[in-house]
């Protein structure tokens, strides 16, 4: 039932209404500027609202309630302590334009420390915290690359190279920045095909966008030759930080030869995913891209911290948000990083990698096919169900849906596109061995069901608030909003 359908006309939440204002006080607004029909919003009591949204929340799987091994999304525990740090009244009530000298030094100290932590973790020399999501970080990074080439009068670079295993945001971002995209194939072992790269790289190459470890769940072993080839052609290297959790505190994008990096704080730094945002996608750069960083930046001077805005940064690509990006998310990442500290950051990569390799080893011992059996798993890995599909007609989607019945969120399915019938599994470091064991047992049980009674899988899930949804109908006859009088 929709909240609108609880409406009882005349219901008002008097506790949420300020004192009434006489009509005469609106007399200065011309009649033709006024709204005639009230908006069709619900008219319900405060208790109804609480019950309705509490019930809705109970229809979600979440990290707080379920194992959530969604590959390439790093669904680790979001510490409550980080949430509390960001929800301090002084932080929540601060207006973005409150003067910084008198009313922002505490906030800016946190943001400045976060800048320093991210620089140390990546080895880069400049940082801007302002991008509001990974995709906006990508946009900032590619816009900086574009600005760099143009500032050198190098206007012929019109292509961006993207491996075929990359996240969809990579090619979409390159196009938003005015580039043509060239796909680079992956070799049999999951590394970038160097011969193919050499054939397409050239004076038209603006950059290559890479995720390392890649979305195939393996470390790109050729990263040094790739960097040499692209740099020799005058192109730059873009690092998509989606998988930084695998190498946090162990290896740095700067040392691999990357010129610009975006991080996903909602992945590696454990800020909440919130049902699809907000995220934060800070960008970090080396010296050559430093002048182009998006504004504002936080700097420390003898008399305190302050923002640096566009007039002081004439080569900046500019502003990406009305104010300063997702500050509340940055504060959560700051609190998380301060709790972990210098010794805790590498442990993230250690235990994320341990958990993934343990899970991969157990599944392999149970007879599941790893997509890259000769490779070490990173913080995630892929199993392929093509054999089960061929022999029993049971698909990766069937497994995903049946896993929900077993109380586990599904891994990422059908991505990367290179591996047929794949599950991309990322357990993260915050899960216990016991949870991983239960997940293995669930997959074995599902495989048995798929072989003996595949219909159980085809028709799964069976225990959730709804069963498999008609997505074709949703797209063919879009019903995107409630209207009064509709059902």
């Amino acid at each position: 039932m929709l909240i609108f359908e609880h409406t009882h006309p005349g219901t008002r939440n008097r506790a949420q209404q300020p004192a009434a204002v006489a009509d005469t006080q609106l007399a200065d607004i011309p009649a033709n500027q006024l709204r005639q029909q009230p908006a069709a919003l619900p008219a319900v009591s405060e208790l109804q609202v609480i019950r309705h949204y509490t019930r809705l929340s109970q229809q979600n799987f979440a990290i707080d309630s379920h194992f959530y091994p969604l590959g390439s999304c790093t669904m680790k525990y979001n510490p409550r302590g980080a949430n509390r740090a960001a929800m301090q009244p002084g932080f929540l009530s601060r207006h973005p334009y409150a003067p910084t000298a008198s009313h922002a030094q505490g906030l800016l100290a946190c943001l400045y420390e976060l800048q320093q932590i991210l620089k140390a973790a990546t080895g880069m020399c400049g940082v801007s915290l302002t991008p509001m999501a990974g995709a906006q970080g990508e946009l900032a990074g590619m816009a900086m690359i574009r600005a760099y080439h143009l500032a050198r009068g190098d206007s012929q670079r019109c292509e961006v190279l993207v491996p075929d295993a990359a996240h969809g945001t990579n090619p979409a971002t390159a196009v938003m920045c005015g580039y043509r995209v060239r796909d680079i194939p992956t070799d049999r072992n999951g590394d970038v095909d160097i011969a193919a790269l050499q054939q397409v790289v050239g004076p038209q190459t603006a950059a290559i966008m890479l995720t390392n470890p890649s979305t195939l769940g393996v470390f790109e072993r050729n990263i040094e030759p790739i960097a040499a080839i692209v740099h020799a052609a005058g192109g730059l290297l873009y690092y998509d930080g989606a998988n930084l959790n695998a190498i946090l505190g162990k290896a740095q994008p700067a040392r691999m030869g990357f010129d610009v990096v975006h991080l996903n704080l909602h992945k590696t730094f454990s800020t909440p995913h919130g049902g699809g945002g907000p995220g934060a996608g800070p960008v970090l750069v080396n010296e050559r891209l430093e002048p182009f960083l998006p504004v504002p930046l936080v700097i420390q001077e003898s008399d305190g911290y302050r923002w640096v805005e566009a007039p002081e940064r004439p080569q900046s690509i500019g502003r990406l948000s009305t104010f300063m990006g997702n500050v509340g998310i940055l504060l959560r990442a700051w609190a998380y990083a301060r709790m972990l500290g210098r010794e805790g950051l590498p442990r993230v990569a250690d235990y994320a990698t341990l958990n993934a390799n343990y899970l991969a080893a157990r599944l392999r011992q149970a007879g599941f096919d790893l997509a890259y059996p000769d490779r070490r798993a990173t913080h995630e890995f892929i199993i392929t169900l093509r054999h089960e599909q061929k022999q029993y007609g049971v698909s990766a989607m069937d497994y995903a849906k049946r896993l929900l019945d077993y109380g586990h969120h599904a891994p990422t399915t059908y991505f990367p596109l290179l591996v047929p019938e794949c599950l991309l599994i990322e357990p993260t470091e915050t899960e216990s061995r016991a949870t991983l064991d239960r997940f293995v047992e669930a997959l074995i049980a599902i495989r048995d069901e798929g072989r003996s009674n595949p219909d159980i899988l085809h028709t799964a899930p069976h225990t959730l608030p709804v069963r498999r949804l008609d997505e074709v109908r949703a797209a063919r006859e879009p019903d995107l909003r409630w209207r009064s009088g509709s059902g």
């Binding site: 709204r35 969604l70 049902g275 500019g318 949804l469």
Partner: protein, 468 residues
């Protein structure tokens, strides 16, 4: 180890299962020269108790001043229920609802959000949210360029009465796609856009015209005339609106004869704390004809295999994870948790409550303007109606006065001189929402009067700079 549950015997057993001697051995595919990371610049870790205390101290140092600034972010009362519900772990720690059956809570909530935004703007469809107001406008501009069937112009008109940070953000995001952003000046007496100023663009009409309502100065634009001008010339009209104001003011879908084509704006006023500028909430809605040009996530209602109603992400063929380089935008994550806050806020207030808030904001804005202009040196340069905010001139450099007010724990407004030098160094944008009391307003007036008097009449009125 913070947040890592492994006991020593777990680690030993796991390594044994994998068949390696140590965790270090799991990194053996990383070339040796790359296995370095100097973290000495980072402090050692601290327990939650210590980090909590540091956060509390720093937040307290920033104070909780009385806020008379708006300029794109508004200090409204947020019902306690909003964030009690939003921070429930089931909302807070879920991800994008790819597995629809396990995400009906988030999906239904977004469907309700889309319904409420569409209703508030009086347009056909809204998406699941964008990052913030400024970036939502950038997406609206790109959408209009794709969706305008009357012309192939790459030009978009942005009035100077639009928030300066919105203009800057749009420029950053759309410039790489060969878009020409043309700035339109405003009338000095009203602080609004003049339809006559658009005449030069009639010969070669642009793809879109952006109209903010209320505008950055808090003034009301002639939205009907501007919309009709746009449609007469095959131009799409993009409305940038404040969602609280929409409870009182004519919604974009009803502007002029045909209504605006796209509406977007900042959803922060709907139950989202000021929080130094984010995370906020971009919203966007449009007419049905532009549906396939909408960027970002969309939730649709459908049925499951038993015919029971349910919700799912839909029309994903527009999006980057399906279409890759041919997507409508690179956007992936949106602002799901903030959309939840806005939905719960709107459900709690309803149309009556939202209207009551808007009326109280308007009354307070007028009361503030009246109180401050009682001071001899203070005057209001613009005539005509406004909402939320107003421009005043105070006879002294606004940035200095702001600092003096801050020492009294008052955030006095937004100095306009950097963005609008023609208004004078003493021009200040002020705001009062429903949460300012009569005592707050008196306190502001008394302090401002005292500060201006102390600085004395010696400082003559500043002259506006010539031109722009």
């Amino acid at each position: 180890m913070p947040f890592i549950p492994h006991a020593a015997d777990d680690v030993a057993a796991m390594l044994d299962t994998i068949g390696v001697a140590s965790i270090e051995a799991l990194f053996d595919e990383i070339p040796a020269p790359l296995q370095q990371c100097d973290l000495s610049a980072i402090e050692p870790g601290e327990p939650e108790m210590v980090v909590s205390r540091l956060a509390a101290e720093r937040a307290a140092a920033d104070g909780v001043p009385i806020c008379f600034v708006g300029a794109g972010a508004y200090d409204h009362h947020i019902p306690a229920a909003v964030w009690d519900l939003v921070t429930r772990g089931e909302f807070y720690s879920a991800y994008t609802p790819y597995q629809a059956e396990a995400s009906q809570g988030t999906l239904q909530l977004i469907y309700e959000f889309q319904s409420m935004i569409a209703a508030l703007t009086a347009l056909d469809v809204a998406n699941a949210s964008l990052y913030d107001g400024a970036s939502a406008l950038a997406e609206a501009v790109l959408m209009a360029l794709r969706g305008n069937r009357s012309n192939r112009s790459r030009q978009v008109l942005l009035p100077r009465t639009l928030h300066p940070a919105y203009r800057a953000t749009v420029a950053t995001i759309v410039t790489p796609q060969q878009v020409e952003l043309e700035t339109i000046d405003y009338q000095r007496d009203s602080g609004t856009l003049d339809v006559a100023a658009l005449a030069p663009y009639e010969a070669n009409p642009p793809a879109a015209l952006v109209v903010p309502q209320p505008n950055f100065f808090g003034q009301l634009e002639a939205v009907d005339q501007l919309t009709d001008w746009a449609h007469r010339h095959g131009v799409l009209l993009i409305a940038v609106v404040n969602p609280i104001a929409l409870a009182l003011l004519k919604p974009p879908g009803e502007w002029g004869e045909k209504g605006a084509d796209i509406a977007c704006g900042e959803g922060q006023p709907l139950g989202i704390p000021l929080a130094s500028g984010g995370p906020y909430l971009g919203f966007i809605s449009c007419r049905e004809a532009l549906l396939r040009q909408l960027p970002g996530r969309l939730v649709g209602r459908t049925v499951d295999r038993d015919g029971k109603p349910g919700f799912t992400l839909t029309l994903q063929a527009r999006e980057q994870h399906i279409r890759r380089s041919r997507a409508t935008s690179n956007i992936c994550t949106n602002q799901g948790l903030l959309a939840a806050a806005a939905t719960i806020y709107m459900a709690l207030l309803g149309s009556d409550g939202l209207t009551a808030v808007a009326r109280a904001c308007h009354a307070n804005r007028n009361a503030l303007l009246t109180a401050l202009t009682e001071i001899a040196q203070v005057e209001a340069p613009f005539s005509g109606a406004g909402f939320h905010e107003a421009v005043i001139r105070i006879g002294q450099p606004a940035d200095q006065i702001i600092r003096s007010l801050a020492a009294q724990n008052l955030i006095g407004g937004y100095p306009l001189a950097n963005d609008y030098p023609e208004l004078g160094e003493d021009a200040l944008l002020i705001c009062a929402t429903e949460s300012r009391s009569a005592a707050d307003i008196s306190r502001y007036r008394d302090n401002l009067q005292r500060i201006l008097e102390r600085r004395g009449p010696a400082c003559t009125r500043l002259r506006p700079a010539d031109g722009l």
